[in-house]
């Protein structure tokens, strides 16, 4: 993997002095986005690809930091020289979204009105808000239109929203492991996660920074729940089954089954670095995402003005956003006679499959991107 790594990368800051008014009605007078770029923008500025992150992602998509070589980008298996998203050909931009906790303006940033962290006062952000903010970054980088906007899960929703909101600025949209809107079951999972955070006494109504506290218990539970929904039953059965820890006691409530150990480890790891308010915002952005809503629930009508060509990808064991949900997107695109290909990839890895280094999956992305004109 490392021999085709983009190598050491540098995180950058885009500071925007132009106010942005969010869907929630709040205006951020100045705001900033953390981003990274890989490869070289060509003279025609036509080879730029935007990577949109999912719930817990950020702008560090590929490569590593010189002073922290183990901190490898979250989609490094896809992006680099000679990789499916080939940085010898494309100029790739990773960005941390508004409301994030990796350097972009978010709940842990200082509210200029109070001089304190925004905390609970940070406005709810929507996928359309993110698209508008990302477009400002594109402006600053001199990118009139993206050769491709690419994302998985919530990132795929951003790719779809780009094609709807700014059709003339997206030539290809790669919508991976996404859905056109969340089902009641999806929203239910998100709300249990949010309730775990909000009811943690250390949450302090979202203003925990003030108390030098962190709602790690709630965040840990939220992540454990989320993590279950990102895996598949098959994969869990194979990986953990009913296996128990060698040291496990019995007839108690300690860590006994391997799956318990795994989830607690994942929860602890996540709660150690992620911001609880950002988690709330990201899940809410998912819940609100529904581009068809403004068109009476007609997704095809929402996509009527799209100009991009589409690649929609789903994974067989993804039950969080199942292949049937991707087919809704495909059918709406076909109804509009838009160019679209759909790949339903056999994978045991559930929703998380979109992040995996799967040979066939990457071959599909590589083949599609090779034909993307720049």
């Amino acid at each position: 993997m490392s021999e085709r790594s983009i190598g050491p990368v540098t995180a950058r800051r885009f500071v925007c002095a132009e106010p942005i008014t969010l869907a929630a009605g709040v205006t951020l007078p100045t705001w900033e986005l953390a981003y990274e770029t890989y490869g070289t923008l060509n003279a025609a500025r036509s080879n730029a690809v935007l990577i949109c992150h999912a719930l817990s992602g950020h702008h560090h998509v590929a490569g590593y930091y010189a002073d922290d070589p183990k901190n490898i980008g979250w989609w490094d298996n896809l992006i680099g020289p000679g990789k499916p998203l080939d940085t010898n050909r494309f100029f790739v931009v990773g960005v941390n979204n508004l409301g994030g906790c990796h350097g972009s303006t978010g709940p842990s940033s200082l509210n200029p009105a109070t001089g304190e962290p925004w905390g609970a006062d940070f406005p709810v952000v929507t996928v359309s808000d993110w698209v508008r903010a990302q477009a400002k970054l594109a402006d600053a980088l001199g990118i009139e239109s993206w050769a491709a906007v690419v994302g998985g899960s919530l990132g795929g929703m951003q790719a779809l929203q780009w094609a709807i909101d700014l059709p003339e600025r997206v030539r290809h949209a790669l919508v991976i492991a996404a859905a056109p809107w969340l089902t009641a079951e999806n929203i239910a999972f998100n709300d249990v996660a949010r309730q775990a955070i909000i009811t943690d006494p250390e949450f302090h109504g979202g203003n925990f920074y003030r108390y030098n506290a962190r709602p790690t218990r709630g965040l840990r539970l939220a992540r454990m729940l989320g993590h279950i929904t990102y895996l598949s039953d098959d994969q869990m059965a194979e990986k953990f089954g009913r296996k128990r820890r060698p040291s496990a006691g019995s007839y108690g409530f300690g860590v006994e089954f391997e799956i318990e150990s795994y989830l607690r480890y994942q929860g602890d790891k996540f709660a150690g670095w992620f911001d609880a308010n950002t988690y709330l915002l990201m899940t809410k952005a998912l819940d609100y995402f529904d581009p068809a809503e403004a068109h009476g629930g007609d997704l095809a009508a929402a996509l009527a003005g799209a100009r991009a060509k589409f690649l929609v990808v789903a994974f067989t064991t993804d039950w969080r956003f199942s292949p049937a949900r991707s087919r809704e997107i495909v059918n709406a695109l076909v109804k509009n006679k838009h160019a679209v290909s759909y790949s339903e990839i056999t994978s045991p890895h559930g929703h998380d499959a979109f992040l995996m280094d799967d040979h066939y999956y990457h071959a599909v992305l590589a083949a599609y991107l090779r034909n993307a004109e720049i």
Partner: protein, 198 residues
């Protein structure tokens, strides 16, 4: 390996379509027909189940939707396409009547090509006591994907029973040459353009 030589039915199919029209190709394989039609100014989408073919179709730059035929058609609106093509595949489909009805629901008309079981060489093979193996029926009986064996007369009888109108018919021999007489005897591959009775 030119398309014309390998798939003589493609030229027939393309000849029935006009630039600007839309086409859905069921079982599109690597998308060869769709490439040919795109070059002639049509807009096309393919349905394909096999992952290897889907990847090849994406490599070939055509629109391909990975699905089985039944599920693939169910999501489309009535009259969504000008043409729906099923080339050399009808004999592999178990639910023959349903697929024909679905094709004529989502398309204004349908184009179907299939190997004619009544081709004289096939008849000879059976007379000689063996199942036929030929250019257009290239499988052994034990590994064939074909589940329905039928002749041009059989197909035309079914169309008649279903109220389907045959608008055009081209019959080819094993070399891809047009057959002009004794079609059900001299024809190895039949290509039909069909529509609803309206």
């Amino acid at each position: 390996m030119t398309h014309a030589l390998k798939r003589p039915d493609f030229a027939v199919i393309a000849g029935w379509m006009k630039p600007g029209e839309s086409v859905l190709d069921l079982g599109c394989g690597a998308g060869e027909l769709l490439q040919l039609l795109a070059a002639r100014g049509l807009r096309g989408w393919g349905i394909e189940r096999d992952p290897g073919h889907v990847l090849a179709a994406i490599e070939n730059g055509v629109n391909v939707i990975q699905s089985n035929l039944e599920a693939g058609l169910a999501g489309f609106e009535d009259n969504a396409f000008d043409h729906v093509v099923l080339s050399r595949t009808l004999q592999t489909v178990r639910h023959t009547q349903q697929i024909l009805a679905e094709m004529l629901r989502v398309g204004h008309e349908a184009v179907i090509s299939f190997p004619n079981f009544a081709y004289w060489k096939n008849r000879m093979a059976v007379l000689n006591g063996r199942m036929p193996v030929s250019e257009d029926l290239p499988y052994q009986w034990y590994d064939t994907p074909n589940v329905r064996f039928f002749t041009m007369l059989d197909f035309e009888g079914l169309c008649n029973a279903m109220g389907i109108v045959i608008r055009d018919r081209q019959v080819l021999d094993e070399r891809g040459n047009t057959v002009t007489e004794e079609h059900n005897f001299l024809g190895s591959l039949a290509v039909y353009r069909i529509g609803r009775d309206d």
